[in-house]
Symmetry: C2
Subunit: 364 residues, 2 copies
């Protein structure tokens, strides 16, 4: 059975402003190494999948950037969303595209985020291979859940139900319940109780099983699938018209939380969704004073730090001197500069709101 | 008797790095208003003195910048130091220049810093006028002392001695003792004891009285004065040769601390030497959260501040967002960026040392 991965690369990534912009969201940034998040995501898949079986789903405005960052990806493997409408329509479009391309096959599809960090790619591939095998064998929706290491309030949680008898290398559980980002006390209770996993946003299923799930839980989407399938490869505007008619809803809320045939495979491969500058700071290699530096190019100047601790400095070629300061996020870009206390990134939302209100679109 | 003012504008002003550079020291910066510190200094004198009686003493490398900032100043009123050798040689050169220009007059000379803030210029002029009158009438070295408002350790102190009978509008005291920058405990003791004034670095004297003081306390300088006077207006290299032979010493240490005919006139005209970014922050108008903004031009963008307090932001046209931070100095320039905790400016010295050591002269 054909196995393919679709990388969801349509996110806006406002949380890494001012490095991330509408025109350059997080998945296209070099945050954790020499490769961009998207390039890393593809590179960790290629030992398992042929490039021709890797798809990237993104917005039309990012088509060129994807092609630029992944020059060896077949151009027909870039699936363009006419607009951002959350993950359920995005996954429906992907399913339609694959059905159009492989009309006589029941493809096994892994849906993967484009902008997460995985520090143990070999373990990731082992887990993903297990998920492919499970989804191929059983008519179930497979998710990959992460063993939680702290009472994180930024992630969704999966409550494991009964253990499923399964001959593969991995443990498999029925999913008992999804919980959206909990508050601190709830997250702590989950960890204390045990049996909870973080929702990584990675899903594996056969197209036929996905279609059945849409039919049961999102009938509007299921009804649009044949039209979407027919229109793939046809006039863009007609496809866009159908796509825009789909409900704006996430796959978690629209399908996963309601479906009863959801299985979870626990994974432990150094995963982090790198949702904020502070999270990134925790993940990168720090100096003796716990300062972390991210440079726009390997030849860019190192910052000068005297008496500074636990700072994250994202440099852009100019000299940055940080003196006697602690717990700061310092991000230098051509036209905008951010200085933010670690853990105070919630203010970024207000900045972007103000910029939108004042129509300073160049900064968005 | 002719009254002239010489503005000492040769300082390097490293303490305002990265806004100040070797090529653009503090006196040439717009720190406290629309005018540069030098322009402010001249502007506050012109109601009292004709421009033709105002001189600017500076290094040869700054000649053009002075002319640019003071287009109406007669070019012959720019006195060029061949090199920086502290204030005693600088004042000797000024005296020689004036003696060359006015060979038959005993000019009354006020020596004034180019880069201090004075918020009450009318009171300043009244005090300076009194000092001119006193210096014209008596064979004494007149200093202007500031009523101290806090136990500042960054200033020199003057201990007032007996009150001098004087018919002018101002109180006048004999100076009993100069004290270089004291430690905190000493400064506090001075304030408690009373009778101390801050040394503002403003001096007024007749050329004949200054010459006599040099003869008594710095005979090498006194001996060079006739040659310097002859060489003013002659070949630059010969003047430079004599100038370079002078001892590298301040007028305070070389003359004022030793002379017995030193008088002080107390002044109270909102003076500050604006020695650091933190000092500047104290002096400028702040917003409701005590943040202070210095923009490179009136049309430059205002910084975006959410949850930030007591910050000093010197902008340079780019957007600066400071979020959830307190007590920071943020200075944005074309090629370098400073983020420094207020009161931690001592680290600037280390930055400049490192840049010098690494021959990164563009940043100096």
């Amino acid at each position: 059975m054909r196995q393919v991965a679709a990388i969801m690369a349509g996110g806006r990534g406002e949380r890494f402003w001012p490095l991330s912009r509408q025109s350059r969201p997080k998945q296209f940034l070099r945050l954790t190494g020499d490769k961009t998040m998207l390039q890393e995501t593809v590179a960790r898949l290629t030992p398992l999948l042929d490039l021709s079986d890797i798809y990237v789903v993104t917005g039309t405005q990012y088509a060129e950037r994807v092609a630029e960052q992944l020059p060896e990806l077949p151009p027909e493997n870039i699936i363009l969303e006419p607009e951002g409408r959350d993950t359920a329509p995005c996954i429906a479009l992907t399913a339609a595209y694959l059905a159009h391309r492989f009309p006589d096959e029941d493809v096994v599809l892994a849906v993967l985020p484009a902008d997460h960090l995985i520090t143990k790619p070999e373990l990731f591939r082992q887990t993903l291979a297990g998920a492919f095998a499970l989804a191929a064998a059983e008519p179930v929706l497979v998710t990959i859940g992460m063993s939680p290491s702290r009472p994180e309030t930024g992630y969704g949680y999966i409550k494991c139900g009964e253990k499923v008898p399964w001959s593969g290398r991995h443990f498999v559980y029925r999913v008992q319940r999804f919980t959206e980002k909990p508050d601190r006390a709830t997250a702590e209770a989950f960890l204390k109780e045990g049996g909870y996993l973080w929702n990584s946003g990675m899903f594996v299923w056969r197209l036929s099983v996905l279609r059945a799930a849409f039919a049961e839980h999102l009938p509007e989407v299921a009804a649009a699938l044949p039209a979407l399938t027919d229109l793939c490869g046809g006039p863009v505007e007609e496809l866009a018209k159908v796509f825009r008619s789909l409900p704006r809803i996430s796959i978690d809320y629209g399908v996963m939380e309601k479906a009863r045939n959801v299985y979870v495979i626990p994974g432990d491969f150094g995963w982090d969704d790198v949702g904020t500058w502070s999270a990134l700071g925790r993940l990168l290699k720090a100096d003796a004073n716990e300062n972390v530096t991210i440079l726009s190019s390997p030849t860019a100047q190192q910052p000068i730090l005297f008496g500074s601790k636990r700072c994250i400095v994202a440099g852009n070629g100019r000299l940055v001197a940080a003196l006697g300061v602690e717990d700061l996020i310092i991000v230098d870009t051509d036209d905008a500069l951010l200085i933010c206390r670690r853990g105070q990134e919630q203010h970024l939302k207000s900045v972007l709101e103000q910029l939108r209100r004042e129509h300073r679109t160049a900064y968005l």
